[in-house]
Symmetry: C2
Subunit: 80 residues, 2 copies
């Protein structure tokens, strides 16, 4: 089953990459108010149904994909 | 207007970060077939309506956010 995981810096956590992108976009003339940069991780995982797949992906996030102290994550399952 | 941009390595383009994550997930015991890693960029942009916002974001992607030779991008506007 295919899944997309979005990992983002939590609100209030410094995001130097986002700040650099924001500043570059402004220098290029774009009118942006805020930019935050995180990771998108596309995973093809072996699981019986969406429930077990989601549980497995949550474990992956907790153990490796995200740092729960400073990052939040969102799991989207492709159920097609 | 808030927007989320997903920037991913194109199919066939080497993704060392994805390979490293895949190998680490397997070592942790997860049954994954493939992993690809890209960027998620949340942008708050000033624009009159969704049409102009999307056009502005496409320009940002072409000029800075994505490398069109090796990356594809997807724009999601938060129209709420």
């Amino acid at each position: 089953m295919r899944a997309t995981v979005l990992v983002r810096p939590k609100d209030g956590i410094l995001d130097p990459q986002g700040e650099a992108v924001e500043s570059s976009l402004r220098k290029l003339g774009f009118d942006v108010q805020s930019v935050r940069v995180g990771k998108v991780i596309d995973v093809e995982v072996q699981a019986d149904g969406t429930g077990p797949a989601r549980a497995e992906l949550e474990r992956m996030c907790d153990e490796l994909l995200a740092n729960p102290l400073i990052e939040s994550y969102e799991i989207h399952l492709d159920e097609s």
